[in-house]
Symmetry: C2
Subunit: 248 residues, 2 copies
């Protein structure tokens, strides 16, 4: 029983909470799932006014390539259907007014919760990035500059840092495209090493949505696309977030 | 040409440094590669005396399960061939006196370089972990407790944090087993969500060493092995680190 995973949860609608609360799998509600349009998801995700700090904005640590490409994409948000995604400190700030499916209780204590890719708040030391999303084309571009706190081999970005950045970009894209919420699998082929401080451009595309799963792929390159750093693919499970008010 | 990756480097012995130094692939030296024994690698990796702080030691944030399992493994270091690996702030501290292969220049500036999994130095907030390695059995166990700075879905560890921890444990195991230095591929299947603050036990095994590549696998579970969090596999490229003195 305990070895059944997300797939089993999706297929069978299981709801499982172990004694001690250590295993948590969501209950699916097929009648209500996947009802939100991409437009409404994006509108909710990108509030016009918010008190939360947006970390996906240029700062003095950004290299010239990152800054100029950011400006290019900001121009595209005016005419080409691209949307710049805000990035708050914790994902719980992104889902204000929503709740996770039954069984995925959100701790409400006062710990300093931070999303993995916003764990380091000193400018330029950790994950500097911004994600642009194109709703109708179901694709994203992430501009990523790894800092010296993300080192693997000396002077080079840790493979796990790129894996984390890919998973984060995948998850935002999968959620906004079709309520893809949980990573089922992540496969990465590393091609070239990334010197710390370089710009990495992640091009992410949704390949298909099938059987409550979103299949998504990524190619990470330098700006002029002459250097492939890595290629990856992932599968996400669709799970609808519920309105708080309808559950209380 | 530029799309050739690590595999090509391994197979053909390419040495590539792009103008601007952005693409760096190592030159392989088949005559000298893979000459270090596991014992000598482990001895060098675990110095009896060092000025570097070892972060892989218990602190007040460790949950009781993590602390008691740590003590169990420390007992096994006395009689069962297990070795507790120290964990310094940066991998450059682990390779003191060694240098990366030609083409992988190590920046020597004074930035605060940190290994990804030691990027957060506040106890309990980030990656709390310790790795035990068994040289003759070519396997490792990593005790990992993700903190609230590694959040993905609210209250739950980010998939990228587990990916990073797997890659880090893989890389140490691959290096000490046979000079496996660079991740070529990483494949993860996520099975269950990990509440922040839980103990995750990563059991890592080298499957085979073939054609200058190390094939390695991992299963991440809770302490009693009743809950599988994820399974993964990876391939590492073997690259020998050179003695500084022989190159200068």
């Amino acid at each position: 029983m305990l070895r059944r995973g997300f797939q089993a949860a999706a297929r069978l609608g299981y709801h499982r909470v172990l004694p001690g609360g250590r295993c948590i799998l969501p209950r699916l509600n097929p009648a209500s799932a996947f009802g939100s349009s991409t437009d409404s998801l994006v509108s909710r995700f990108c509030p016009e006014k918010t008190d939360f700090k947006d970390y996906a904005l240029p700062n003095a640590s950004w290299c010239p390539d990152m800054l100029s490409l950011y400006k290019e994409f900001m121009e595209k948000t005016k005419s080409s259907g691209w949307v710049k995604l805000p990035s708050f400190k914790s994902n719980r700030e992104h889902i204000q007014g929503l709740k996770l499916p039954s069984g995925l209780a959100v701790p409400s204590d006062k710990r300093d919760w931070r999303s993995l890719t916003r764990c380091i708040q000193v400018e330029g030391q950790g994950y500097e990035y911004v994600i642009f999303f194109h709703p109708s084309e179901k694709k994203s571009v992430c501009l990523f500059q790894p800092g010296p706190y993300l080192e693997g081999p000396p002077g080079l970005a840790h493979g796990g840092a790129l894996a984390a950045m890919m998973d984060e970009t995948f998850s935002k894209t999968a959620y906004l495209t079709g309520e893809g919420l949980l990573t089922l699998s992540l496969n990465i082929r590393f091609k070239n090493l990334i010197p710390v401080g370089s710009l990495v451009v992640l091009n992410v595309e949704v390949e298909k949505i099938e059987d409550q799963k979103i299949y998504i792929s990524c190619i990470a390159q330098n700006r002029d696309q002459q250097m492939v750093y890595a290629k990856s693919s992932a599968v996400f499970l669709q799970l609808q977030l519920e309105e708080e008010s309808s559950q209380q």
